[in-house]
């Protein structure tokens, strides 16, 4: 590869957008050519700087409100997806008070609505684990984009074999895996990436054999998807928006 070609391909290399063969060619060229290596270092430094939050403008709240108000009125608008926690409580409250049996209802409803259910506890655990994985250096035990490397890596470390699929072609490349500990047991954590977002997928065998999907409320600002697929409990956590995370969950389900 000559420098002229490399000058453009350096960018695809930096952005992880080249096919494997080209990518390796560029890498080899960088090793041999100090000028392109220095250019690449500069490009990488520029990109790192631009990733800083300071360069990302967030929409003012008043604008968001204005846009939401401009949308035609629709049922469940503010509630989003119905859920036990956000949907049930206000409805219960509305009826309980006029009926003057509030005290009685409270006994039954409050523990269900406010006391953390099993899923809520797991949701908290997976989110904490996700946050920990991003803060420390322990995002991955095995860093590989190859599902055939990641899957065998779990052998002997877990008493089950998690399904591992790379969704690179759909924009969700697999970047690695690690062991984690959730719900009082060792679990498989698969790490995926989408744009600049990291996605953690936690898996362990389920005692339910049905395929089910449950909506989990966002936890500490992170979106969480939960489902049972191919006999596995599957929890997906990311700061990725709900729509895209849902799309990703559907991909996993389709491959389960």
């Amino acid at each position: 590869m000559n420098c002229d070609d490399a000058r453009i391909l350096l960018h695809g290399h930096l952005d992880g957008e080249l096919d494997l063969v080209r990518d390796l060619e560029v890498e080899r060229h960088i090793e041999e050519c100090p000028r392109c290596a220095s250019e690449f270092a500069t490009l990488r430094a520029m990109r790192t700087r631009l990733k800083d939050e300071a360069f990302h403008f967030e929409a003012p709240q008043e604008l968001k409100d204005k846009i939401r108000r401009a949308l035609p009125a629709a049922p469940n608008r503010s509630v989003g997806y119905p859920s036990r926690r956000s949907g049930f409580v206000p409805r219960a409250a509305r009826f309980a008070v006029p009926l003057a049996i509030g005290a009685m209802l409270t006994l039954f409803i409050v523990p269900r609505a406010f006391g953390p259910s099993g899923n809520d506890l797991v949701a908290r655990e997976v989110v904490s684990s996700h946050v920990r994985s991003l803060m420390g250096s322990h995002l991955m035990d095995v860093a590989s984009t190859d599902q055939h490397t990641v899957k065998p890596w779990f052998n002997g470390k877990l008493d089950f074999s998690p399904p591992v699929t790379d969704f690179k072609n759909d924009g969700f490349p697999l970047v690695g895996g690690r062991l984690d500990y959730i719900n009082d047991r060792p679990v498989a954590a698969l790490v995926y990436q989408h744009a600049k977002h990291v996605i953690n997928v936690f898996m362990w065998p389920s005692d339910r054999d049905t395929t089910s999907v449950e909506r989990i409320e966002p936890e500490q600002g992170y979106n969480v998807e939960q489902m049972t697929v191919a006999g596995m409990n599957c929890w997906i956590v990311s700061d990725l928006n709900q729509t895209e995370l849902k799309t990703f969950a559907q991909m996993i389900r389709a491959h389960g």
Binding site: S38, A73, A74, G80, G171, Q242
Partner: protein, 175 residues
């Protein structure tokens, strides 16, 4: 008039991307108030055309509308400074390195980087904003900016080259 189910889908599909929409608009028109107008207008247009959304990436779809709205705005209000015909070709020598060291980039003042980016023409600025600040893939940029995917990388190469040169000049002036 869109019916209620359209409205629900629209809200769930597109309102999560309001930050991305505003970020792009803000970088393109370089003013908070104008950017808000552009985004609001873009969402109203999007709502009108929502039935034309056939799945795919909702963020790229809404950004395409934001971008068009912003360009229309610039042309109408400021007599757009972007060339009528944007030259897609990479010219000889254009991608020579700017002689900017990575170390200098790391030490550069944030304002300097912002100014250098703001100085680029909209076509170059938007591709850097979409890729480096918003984190879109080449495919998503191709969809949003309505260019072939092959064009995205060469445009990015040129844009980053110009940004590096501009940044280098600013750093040189400073010292």
């Amino acid at each position: 008039m869109p019916d209620e189910s359209t409205a629900v889908d629209f809200e769930r599909t597109f309102t999560p991307h309001m930050d991305a929409a505003y970020n792009l608009a803000r970088w393109l028109v370089r003013d908070d108030h104008d950017a808000q107008d552009v985004v609001q207008e873009a969402y109203l247009r999007a709502l009108r055309f929502a039935s034309g959304f056939r799945g795919g990436d909702p963020r790229a779809w809404i950004l395409a509308i934001v971008r068009n709205t912003a360009f229309t705005f610039l042309k109408r209000n400021r007599g757009s400074n972007s060339p009528v015909e944007f030259d897609e070709n990479v010219h000889r020598g254009e991608l020579e390195d700017a002689g900017l060291e990575a170390e200098a980039v790391r030490g550069a003042d944030g304002t300097m980087i912002r100014d250098a980016l703001n100085e680029l023409t909209e076509e170059f600025r938007e591709v850097i904003v979409m890729r480096d600040i918003e984190g879109l893939s080449y495919k998503e940029i191709a969809d949003a900016a309505d260019v072939p995917i092959g064009t995205v990388m060469s445009r990015l190469a040129r844009a980053r080259g110009k940004l590096a040169r501009s940044l280098k000049e600013r750093i040189a002036k400073e010292s």
